[in-house]
Symmetry: C2
């Protein structure tokens, strides 16, 4: 099986099996503040389990370049994780469906300006991979317990534009 993975455009429909794309689109769900603000409401399916709570952290990420060697993915069994960019710089979003407890063949998406993502609880994904140096607000689970599982591929995948 070829180890090359070509990037795809990130859309809500394509990403639905893995999580939510958080973006402005169409008409807002509410118009507030005397018409000065549109609210696109409650876009992320978050889940922090019975013993966790939502926290906001900031990730300051260095940049990666394509083609990129993908050696591992990880998942968070106890909670969802959202990445909310502070700039319009694109980032790579790597995800994989689960196949009997191991990640299947990954898919790689490149964000458009203004798009954030929320990985659903337990979804295999790559680490934060900005394509320019950038900061991200991250909404994920704060709480006790082991919330990261890593999987190292026997042979890396190569992610290409």
């Amino acid at each position: 099986m070829p180890r090359d993975i070509h990037t795809e455009v990130l859309t809500g429909a394509a990403f639905a099996p893995f999580g939510d794309v958080l973006e402005v689109g169409g008409e807002p769900d509410m118009v507030i503040n005397g018409g000065m603000c549109g609210r696109f409401h409650d876009l992320a399916r978050m889940d922090f389990g019975p013993d966790g709570r939502a926290g906001i952290s900031l990730f300051q990420g260095q940049s990666y370049r394509l083609p990129l060697e993908l050696t591992m993915v990880e998942r968070h069994p106890l909670g969802s994780q959202a990445f909310l960019p502070t700039t319009s710089a694109p980032f790579l979003v790597v995800v994989a469906a689960d196949d009997s407890g191991r990640p299947g063949r990954p898919r790689a998406f490149v964000t458009k300006p203004g798009q954030g993502v929320n990985y659903h609880r337990g979804i295999w994904h790559g680490v934060l991979t900005p394509l320019e140096p950038a900061c991200y607000f991250v909404v994920d689970r704060i709480g006790a317990g082991s919330n990261v599982e890593e999987y190292v591929f026997s042979e890396p995948y190569i992610i290409r534009p």
Copy 2:
């Protein structure tokens, strides 16, 4: 009492009575992803009450100009509310201490690039006031119940640079 309010630089210390400034500063709490990412951990004191949960929405805001007539403020008795900018455009952050159930004299802060804010539950604040058109990820309470209280000033304040 003069109705003019001059803007202040937003710092975590100045804003502490009202909420959290979410920004990168100093050394990260953790360095992850093989040194490629710094995590500034759990920066917001969020509170969604016993019957609420955290949601992520997107606010698409039109821009305001200074001097600005401040006619009202609002507060959310049931939950905190975080504004996480998607660009480096500055926004105005208006807050007021409570004085026997009514807002006291407001203070007005202007953000620096990369700064988000989290209003603590029940804090009087102005509506979203971008100084350039901009979008914001908003983390606030999703749930039943009346979660907004407005206060209209008998005479507007004027916010000046």
